[in-house]
Amino acid sequence: MSLRMLLGLTVVSAAITTTGCGPKPEQYSLKGQVLDISASGQIIVKHDDIPGFMPAMTMPYKVRDPGVLQEVQPGDLIAAALMVAKNGNYWLEDVRITDQSGRKTAKSAAMATHVLKIGDKAPDLPLINQDGKTFRLSDFKGKALLTTFVYTRCPMPTFCPRLSSQFAKIHEHLAKTPDDYNKTHLLTISFDPKYDTPAVLRRYGLAYLDNDATGFSHWDFATTNPTELRALADAFGLAYFEEDNQISHSMDIVLLTPEGSVAKYWSTDWTAGELEDALRQQARSAASTPSAAAGGMKR
């Protein structure tokens, strides 16, 4: 199976849960080093060649046994079975730690920082949007905010292009109900600030807004300096690593309440409909509480 087949797998994996009654998944042997563990329960593994399947690279993987997430730590060398189902799902099973000596030296963002829990207040770091305007998450006070992370040069259709395409769908749906539209906001943050300048982000955003720049009033495309970006990513549990001009990353979507607290996280298992419903629900429930109603909307 080629690399492109693997990359195509995640499209289906997001929507389908393996039931175990389908054809037996293919199994490959994976060996590599754990670089990070995302808040959404994926482990980021820099792995060796997987003969007959894909070359060496760094990729996020789901694990079937949640206990693994408690055991592995960044820096660990692991061996595992990479399972690839016919329906497109892929995941790791039988994860074994073969060497723990790298733990001490692993420079993991996840180890050094605190990933926000549900209910925690999001950090109020400055961001720069597609128009070059500086803003902060607190500027969205009073609105439910759905945010995610991408980089515009991402070539994997099941990662960033999928995220932006599905956000575009949510944006279009919300535009049909002005009440919800005015109480919600979408935010796409690039983790490639070197390349994704405001001008690049504007061009990227317009492609997903059908060239209608008025859509930026409801959907911002932003970035910030590398230090602030890392802090924000760590807070939301996003893992990303740059290698050879490519960025390996986990997929993370975060819903913030109109008060700026974390309401929910998603990684790979979501649909645009689920995100949209949660966003609308968050906006409506908050609007019915006196404190939210009293909160001002700056944007």
């Binding site: 195509g8 259709p157 932006s164 001009n245």
Partner: protein
């Protein structure tokens, strides 16, 4: 029912063999073969597959240069295809700084023979 004569059968077999060889990369120049590998790695996920979660389905690229215009409406020239690969177009990501000049050249060469 029509039957295949001996000669016609040989011709059929030769055609099938030629098609198979072409599929496997025989008959391609070194540059085209390299372009084919790059296409498989970087382009085929979007341009050969169907990704229903994408906002716009990327166009198939077989016979790209047969038409005078690219799917974007721009002239189907090497220069324009190079520009599209490097800068991206619409929702297509840019490959700027991710492919070397020679890679882009080879990719364009392969797109000329992709049928």
């Amino acid at each position: 029912m029509r039957r295949c004569s001996g000669g016609a059968c040989l011709l059929c077999a030769a055609s099938v063999l030629l098609a198979a060889c072409s599929q496997m990369g025989f008959g391609l120049s070194g540059a085209e073969l390299h372009g084919a590998q790059l296409f498989d790695l970087h382009c085929a996920d979007c341009h050969d597959e169907t990704n229903p979660d994408l906002k716009k389905q990327p166009p198939k690229l077989k016979g790209l240069f047969r038409s005078k215009l690219l799917p974007s409406g721009s002239p189907a020239t090497d220069q324009q295809v190079r520009k599209t690969i490097i800068e991206g177009f619409g929702t297509m990501p840019a490959f700027d700084q991710r492919l070397r000049d020679q890679d882009v050249d080879d990719l364009v060469k392969y797109l000329h023979v992709l049928k």
